[in-house]
Symmetry: C2
Subunit: 140 residues, 2 copies
DNA sequence: GGGTAATCCTTAAGATGTTATCTGTTGTAT
DNA sequence: ATACAACAGATAACATCTTAAGGATTACCC
């Protein structure tokens, strides 16, 4: 039997840690957590999203997202408004300040991503992407 | 530029979630968290480990491990004793009850692992294992 | 139209992640 | 032997994860 340290779930965890180490220093400089940055990225791409959609895209459960949004709103990075069509829904978007911050920081993170991609080669990264996609389709 | 939803770190997170869904139901039955089970697995393999070694093998930071150990000790699953050679170190091992529990549950989890492995095929799993190993070697 | 189930978001409670700091112990150089 | 750096755990403070349950709004059915 495979040693537990080589089990796929743990390997995935380690690999994630390894890749995140490329970006963590930059995020620390601007005092944003990994999750907060994911939220900002998503809102930068989609302009305005409902809380539920945002949670799904960022892979963050809604109870966590509630707190994250609260903190980002308090920092003046996110705006929330109720949907006029459906009072249950909350619509979220970036403030101008956040958009500016994204433009400033994004290139540096992209550069780190490239550095990482080049270290393992684009082919392997593509292959990895493929395999991870398949893992996500598995049904228990 | 790649959409952030397809970035490698997020893909790794999603894939990990997908694989864990094979095991989560069983762990929930016995009221153990994923991390607690990892600790038990490690101690089952190595009999006795120092806190630091355990943390490294389980990919758990020591402050988290302190809490996990406390809870497992309280549940009568783990024993701790101070190293006679070095009073700073703490040696950890499973209780008989925990060993028994491991023997009982382990086969069921192994079966789920096999089910997962077969769904994507052994070859792809091996390839994935290879690629994840390379990711871990990257240096920022 | 009124009762009811479903939906979205939030809150609650406990466990873990993350960084910084503290305490006690050991190693080392003077 | 003493002072000081290095090390192993533990604690603290805050953020997030995870599951369950609550409050408000909407959809559906009779």
């Amino acid at each position: 039997m495979r040693k537990f340290e080589d089990s796929i779930p743990l390997q995935l965890l380690k690999a994630r840690e390894a890749t995140m180490s490329f970006f963590r220093p930059i995020l620390q400089e601007i005092s944003l957590t990994e999750q907060q940055w994911r939220v900002i990225q998503a809102l930068n791409e989609y302009t305005e999203l409902e809380s539920k959609q945002l949670a799904e895209r960022c892979c963050i459960l809604s109870p966590s997202l509630t707190g994250i949004i609260n903190r980002l709103e308090q920092q003046g990075l996110i705006q929330r408004r109720k949907s006029p069509d459906d009072q249950r829904r909350v619509l979220l978007s970036l403030t101008d300040e956040a958009k500016q911050m994204f433009e400033d920081v994004s290139p540096r993170l992209d550069a780190r991503y490239k550095a990482m991609a080049e270290q393992i080669s684009e082919e392997k990264l593509e292959l990895l992407n493929e395999l991870l996609g398949e893992l996500c389709k598995l049904k228990p």
